[in-house]
């Protein structure tokens, strides 16, 4: 029950003023600039863009600064800003086959055309703290080698050529948009993918991990993982043709999963798909695994009752803004609610004690 009360304005104003002071930290330390966050905390920026569902590195960096590094709070700020933007249009689907790859690896084929390109990865580092970074003034430079400019075809195309993997039929149907219409169940795959790509990284990771540990196990291989930039194009009605409206960084993961066949499908490999804004590879792999687990029905698999197979469970709890909104609202004043609870419990206690006294007397 909600009852309007007045009071607390001064306390709230002062709390926000103190928040601003704490955000700045010690004035003896140089203030962090938004471009510094954008350039040097780029993976935090990427996460805020992916889960905030808005590709704009400067805005995401500003949100991180404003939120004092609390990424879910920063995502909240981006989501709130996003709702103020008029929708100018919808892009034509991006072609990740044309990606200018910084990184491109396959765990299934060693000698894949285009090669295994590691890119700027944490893999193979020893995870030892590097105290050199605590000293200032380093500007490292990366080695360069002649780029061969050869195409990097999709790994799944090779399996597809032999019919060994379930095909991914192209279509141009308009997908549902959960920012326009509330999520409804059963959710089709397009809606599930939209929900997963903006879902909380930790939650999607946990769900994906559960499938690896045996809850709806589906034997995933990373068929291909690529990170790089793709151009974005949109049809402009006043011109009558599509123009490029910019360039974005994406991470794409295609999982290849063992599949022994079902009542409706022959034995073949199946796919899970992850596509996430920015360099976000943990999230993209997680998304592919969860996507694959959620496809049990269309592939004619059994529902073994695993959490990752339950679309309603996964998609209803993947959004960290919805989740923290509902979770954190319980710290706001519930004085009247609680007053009625208090009265109820007193009455029940009094009744129970009276009944006991009566029993003892009889």
């Amino acid at each position: 029950m909600y009852v309007a009360v007045k009071g607390g304005e001064r306390a709230i104003d002062n709390a926000h003023a103190w928040l601003a002071e704490e955000r700045r930290g010690s004035p003896d330390i140089a203030e962090l600039t938004v471009p510094q966050i954008r350039e040097q905390l780029a993976l935090a920026v990427n996460r805020v863009m992916a889960e905030g569902s808005l590709f704009d590195p400067d805005l995401a960096a500003l949100a991180i600064k404003q939120a004092r590094g609390d990424l879910i709070e920063a995502i909240f700020l981006i989501r709130a800003y996003r709702t103020t933007l008029p929708r100018l249009g919808v892009s034509t689907p991006v072609d990740t086959g044309e990606m200018a790859c910084d990184r491109r690896i396959s765990a299934t084929f060693k000698d894949v055309p285009g090669g295994q390109v590691l890119g700027p990865t944490f893999d193979y580092t020893h995870r030892l703290l590097d105290f050199k970074l605590a000293a200032e003034g380093e500007t490292p430079t990366a080695p360069q080698a002649p780029a061969q400019g050869e195409p990097t075809p999709r790994v799944t195309d090779y399996l597809n050529r032999d019919g060994l993997i379930q095909p991914e039929p192209a279509s141009d149907t308009t997908p549902p948009d959960l920012t326009r219409e509330p999520m409804e169940f059963p959710a089709n795959r397009a809606l599930r993918l939209q929900s997963l790509t903006r879902g909380d990284e930790g939650f999607v990771l946990g769900m994906a991990y559960s499938t690896q540990r045996g809850y709806a196990r589906n034997h995933p291989f990373v068929g291909e993982l690529r990170i790089g930039t793709v151009p974005v194009e949109m049809d402009v009605p006043e011109l009558g043709f599509a123009v490029g409206i910019g360039e974005i960084t994406l991470t794409e993961c295609e999982s290849v999963n063992q599949f022994t066949g079902s009542k409706t499908e022959p034995p073949q490999f199946t796919r899970g798909y992850g596509l996430v804004f920015g360099q976000s590879e943990r999230k993209a792999i997680s998304m592919a695994l969860v996507d694959r687990a959620l496809r049990w029905k269309e592939l004619g698999e059994d529902n073994v009752g695993a959490p990752a197979q339950d679309a309603e469970f996964v998609l209803s709890h993947a959004d960290n803004i919805q989740a923290s909104g509902f979770l954190e609202h319980i710290k706001l004043p519930h004085y009247v609610d609680f007053q009625s609870e208090l009265e109820l419990i007193r009455r029940i206690r009094a009744e129970a004690q009276a009944a006991q006294a009566q029993e003892a007397a009889e």
Binding site: L88, V90, P143, P146, Q194, V232, E233, F241
Partner: protein, 147 residues
């Protein structure tokens, strides 16, 4: 890479050009022409779509910020801009260039503004491609111990 002799080509280049570079090149040009707004700069979101498995049915990935505007030069040509981000000054310059590219100044502008922008984009892209190439794995087989 964009074909700078087509409207699609130069608009696509202007959309992703970094604002400081575009502004600096534009300011080397002679006095900007007079114009009237047909649609003053407006920032909004464009929903980006991807395809399942990279090639299948489309789905919505998330939005990006885009600023658009339209203007008409005193000489009558109409310029449009759809540029990435929220920079309204950049959108205005892009629309002015789009309009001027339909006039006799096209060749001069292409040489003075568009080609340098395209060149720096190419250079940035190949700098990344060359760093990526240096991280390409060359596999070799270890000598095996059976003989």
């Amino acid at each position: 890479m964009e074909n700078l002799t087509t409207r699609k080509g130069w608009m696509s280049l202007l959309a992703k050009a970094p604002a400081p570079a575009l502004t600096a090149l534009w300011e080397t040009q002679k006095a900007p022409p007079g114009f009237e707004w047909l649609r003053p700069p407006e920032t909004g979101g464009v929903m980006i779509r991807g395809r399942m498995g990279g090639t299948g049915a489309p789905f919505n990935v998330g939005e990006m910020t885009v600023t658009r505007c339209a203007l008409r030069l005193e000489s009558g040509e109409v310029g449009h801009a759809y540029v990435q981000g929220r920079d309204k000054a950049k959108a205005r310059i892009a629309a002015l260039i789009d309009a001027l590219m339909q006039t006799a100044r096209a060749d001069a502008l292409r040489e003075a503004v568009l080609e340098p922008l395209a060149e720096s984009h190419r250079a940035a892209r190949s700098a990344r491609a060359e760093r990526a190439a240096a991280t390409r794995v060359d596999f070799f087989t270890m000598v095996r111990g059976e003989d």
